[in-house]
Point group: C2
Chain length 220, copies 2
């Protein structure tokens, strides 16, 4: 059962899989080495240090983002691309955190941003408006989506009810919203909130606002 030789490729892919499994904060060079059936220092022949490993992992995720669609209006193209990025980041929950904690964006991230800007520019938006828009999109550009509630309720019913009423006392508005969301949602399980819908809702507010500004600029 000879182990195939390591390579930067193999190391990065294993690191991504391991981070998916045990979480990014538990990922260590030593565990990764063990996973690959190798001594820790062997990894350093393929990545210069852990930071470069993290950068490489980000690049693996960025490569999963679909290229921009051609032959459509800028708005749909942007929309598609951002939703594709969102999918990639949702597959690897640690990714946004790593991207944002990195000192400098990796070239792959820069490529993504550049092509995103390109979609606005070739769509006819001015440089200035595009600039504002990139800021407006903020982390949404990278498909970020946070989950506020873990909704992990392994407690018994009484405890849960008690927790619920304590919650309602302390955070009335959060509770009201959570209840409304869970009633609205047809499914019984889950957070009672369609994340995909929420994400697109927010995205569309931004895109609509941007389109409005663009039209106003053209008319003026």
């Amino acid at each position: 059962m000879a182990r195939p030789p390591l390579s930067k490729e193999r190391v990065l892919r294993a690191a991504v899989a391991l981070a998916d499994d045990i979480g990014i904060e538990a990922l260590s060079m030593r565990k990764l080495a063990q996973e690959l059936g190798v001594v820790p220092m062997a990894l350093y022949k393929h990545v210069t240090n852990k930071d470069e490993l993290l950068d490489g992992m980000v690049d693996v995720i960025m490569a999963q983002i679909d290229p921009p669609a051609v032959g459509t209006d800028w708005k749909s193209a942007v929309r598609q691309r951002i939703l594709s990025a969102r999918q990639a980041l949702l597959r690897h929950r640690w990714a946004s955190q790593v991207i944002e904690s990195r000192a400098a964006p990796t070239p792959a991230v820069m490529d993504y941003l550049d092509s995103m800007i390109g979609l606005f520019r070739t769509g006819g938006l001015s440089v200035d408006l595009t600039h504002h828009v990139m800021h407006a999109m903020g982390s949404r550009i990278l498909g970020f989506s946070q989950e506020l509630f873990d909704d992990s309720g392994p407690a018994n019913p009484e405890e849960q009810a008690a927790a619920m009423s304590a919650m309602a006392q302390r955070y009335p508005y959060i509770t009201e919203m959570a209840i409304a969301a869970s009633h609205t949602d047809e499914s019984v399980v889950g957070s009672g909130c369609d994340d995909q819908f929420e994400f697109e809702f927010a995205l569309d507010i931004l895109l609509d606002g941007i389109a409005r500004l663009h039209r106003a600029a053209m008319a003026g």
Copy 2:
């Protein structure tokens, strides 16, 4: 020169200051103890572990956010509050990262979110719309603002020019935007981009879109 006795308060404040100084990733229990003139284990009489320390640090920052204004329309109240949160997070750049990396939001964060939801609800927005809006605001609720370019150019002019043209080759749109921004800006130094303006621009796109949806809901 007797050292005043420790307290959770003092520990947390020192931790915040130290994180501001040396960065959150370099903050360790040992360095914090040293800063306080105490042995590392002494800290554990005041915080149960490092995670609780981080939570406490977040609470210190949350306490710096102004309470919501009273007697104004919901939109200005939300605007003010978010801008105040932004100021707090800008004073401590590590804060967003810590907040987002924490498994569960601290009570102080929950309080903030609850009161933010309250602003929308008492302003007359429906529970459903408010729910969508909170998602739409996303990380902007917490005043998040990222800086893409460090703009740290300690290299000599030739190198800088070379780097610039390499950059323009590889990331044409980013470069175009960066140049436009630096020409627009009246000041010579800095990133050539008024972060505060960009933040408010984005915030207003969202708030305007939300107000439009709200008016439509009332009219319908």
